[in-house]
């Protein structure tokens, strides 16, 4: 069950991370913006840039291998089917799943969560039952649960967080009551960068018989995922946040759950037999992939996942930790700047506010220096409300970001109050 990423093929363990070599694989990062300044892309929590290996894989698929999958008997169809199912195997390896049938392709983490909420959770929910989420969730891991709770007369309860943006799980057992039917928690907070103690939460929820979905949209880009080790029941991944295409992602689900779940959507490719009286459904994962899926997207995603699995993740983690430390220090030195989210366990995400400057103004002003930042509530309004800020500016890093870019960011932010007078 403890499948791990294959041995790194590219970099030598223990060698320093060669960021320039990695950057050369991302064509978009070469561009300059107005005034000839290099683009400093620090909005990786929103979406990541794409390696040429992914771009080439998609072009190759549409140039040479495009056909609809699963039903044709001709060679081209079989080739396309093989590539699509190969992508599933790549996703399986990426999260360390035991069986490729545990990988369901969806549009992204949002659809993955909705699938689990509707097909797994909703049938188990009755009036007065409870679903548990955490205070640092993205809206996509709140709203689908709220919807099934509303439909079933169930109640949504919330694991609280402290002022540093860490989950307070001391009282978790008090929240895991006899009516708790599901727990959904993010692996990493998109707004604050907090890494949650997912493994411990899963163990404690399972001790009470409560299944757990982990929203991996922000975890998978930064942390080596091993669903066997985490022990979770479901894990969702967004393709475009792991350097893959938009419009594709996957949900890992334990096979015994998937086999017991009704379909999410009806259509072609998810049935065993159809008459006007009765339809029987295919086994997972096909049961959950109604209609022609995003074949080219899945194949592109597989190329990105393969790219990631060739990196030395000890070196990646060390590089990202250095970027985080550098950015935290450089930004903290700016008068009036306050970092929002100071968890002990964080990925390279720095959310901040600046006295006298609204986040939106910060975003516009640093853009002049080529710095792409996200500003606003980051689709996590409850987080913003709990921390008492209407909005933050957020720099979110990927392994291809550099220390020179951290310096450009800090200089650009330092200039904001000058511009605002």
């Amino acid at each position: 069950m403890t499948t791990t990423r294959p041995a790194p093929l590219r970099s030598v363990k223990g060698a320093p991370f060669d960021v320039e070599r990695v950057r050369a694989d991302f064509p978009l990062l070469r561009q300059t913006v107005a005034g000839g300044r290099p683009l400093v892309y620090l909005d990786n929590a929103a979406t990541t840039q794409k390696p040429r290996q992914m771009i080439e894989a998609i072009a190759r698929f549409y140039t040479d291998d495009n056909a609809n999958i699963h039903r044709g008997v001709y060679d081209l169809c079989e080739r396309a089917t093989r590539l699509y199912e190969g992508a599933r195997t790549m996703a399986q390896r990426f999260v360390g799943a035991a069986d490729a049938r545990e990988i369901v392709f969806v549009r992204g983490a949002t659809e993955g969560i909705n699938l689990v909420a509707q097909s797994f959770c909703s049938p188990r929910l009755g009036a007065g039952d409870e679903v548990l989420v955490s205070a640092i969730e993205h809206h996509s891991n709140i709203v689908p649960w709220q919807q099934v709770c509303e439909a079933r007369g169930a109640r949504l309860r919330v694991i609280p967080m402290n002022s540093r943006g860490e989950l307070e799980i001391d009282g978790l057992e008090d929240l895991l009551g006899p009516r708790t039917r599901m727990l959904a928690v993010t692996h990493v907070s998109n707004a604050l960068g907090t890494v949650t103690p997912v493994k411990e939460i899963v163990a404690r929820a399972h001790a009470r018989g409560v299944p757990v979905l982990v929203d991996g949209a922000q975890g998978a880009p930064h942390v080596v995922v091993d669903v066997g080790d985490l022990g979770c029941d479901f894990y969702t991944v967004s393709g475009h946040k792991v350097f893959g295409p938009t419009g594709v992602g996957f949900v890992y689900g334990r096979l015994e759950h998937l086999e017991a779940m009704p379909p999410y959507q009806g259509g072609g490719d998810m049935i065993r037999s159809v008459t006007f009286e009765r339809t029987t459904f295919a086994a997972p994962p096909a049961r959950f992939e109604a209609g022609t899926p995003n074949i080219g997207g899945a194949i592109g995603l597989a190329a990105s996942l393969e790219y990631l699995m060739r990196l030395d993740w000890d070196a990646v983690a060390a590089h990202e930790a250095e970027l985080l430390a550098h950015a935290t220090e450089a930004l903290s030195g700016i008068p009036g700047l306050r970092i929002i989210g100071t968890a002990a366990e964080k990925v390279a995400v720095v959310s901040f506010v600046l006295a006298g400057a609204h986040a939106h103004d910060i975003g516009t002003i640093v853009d002049e220096d080529g710095v792409a930042l996200r500003t606003g509530h980051h689709c996590a309004q409850p987080v913003m409300d709990a921390l008492g800020v209407p909005a933050t500016a957020r720099a979110s890093f990927a392994f291809y970001n550099t220390h020179a870019e951290v310096e450009v960011l800090a200089a650009a932010v330092a200039r904001v109050r000058e511009v605002l007078g």
Partner: protein
């Protein structure tokens, strides 16, 4: 890319730091809430309209420099005017920040013309427009909420 200094003009920066009519009215005849869910800007606007004339106006809330300055300059522009004149200013302002051709009569905008630079920053048009949409909502009916989404 458009020039940053065309966006953050001195008048705008001044109104952001020292917004005019920045208060709630004790007994407003018209009020509205404006909200930009994308960036979290919020504005509450109160009006006291008598005989079709905006006698008093006040706003508060939280927002970026552009929305705050836009609200402040809007209040100074419409106070003392008829509601019909205020609505015409709204149309002219909207045209200035969105229409490439600009407003039909730029002179009518007076000092509101400092917001012409917003047109070069499409992501910020909503910030400048929010107070005006809120004014329009307040005048159209009483006690409503508007959203720029």
């Amino acid at each position: 890319m458009a020039e940053l200094r065309e966006l953050y003009q001195q008048v705008i920066l001044d109104h952001n730091k020292n917004p005019r009519h920045h208060r709630r009215l004790a007994v407003p005849s018209h009020s509205a809430e404006g909200h930009n869910p994308l960036c979290g800007d919020r504005i509450h606007l109160d009006l006291k309209v008598e005989d079709g004339i905006i006698r008093e106006i006040g706003f508060d809330g939280s927002g970026c420099a552009i929305s705050t300055a836009s609200a402040s300059l809007m209040t100074t522009s419409v106070v003392g005017k008829t509601t019909a004149e205020a609505e015409r200013l709204f149309d002219a302002f909207h045209a200035m920040v969105t229409d490439p051709a600009g407003p039909a009569d730029p002179k009518a905008l007076g000092k509101l013309a400092v917001f012409s630079g917003v047109r070069g920053f499409p992501a910020r048009v909503k910030c400048a427009n929010l107070p005006w949409h809120t004014l329009h909502a307040a005048l159209s009916s009483e006690g409503v909420r508007v959203s720029t989404e």
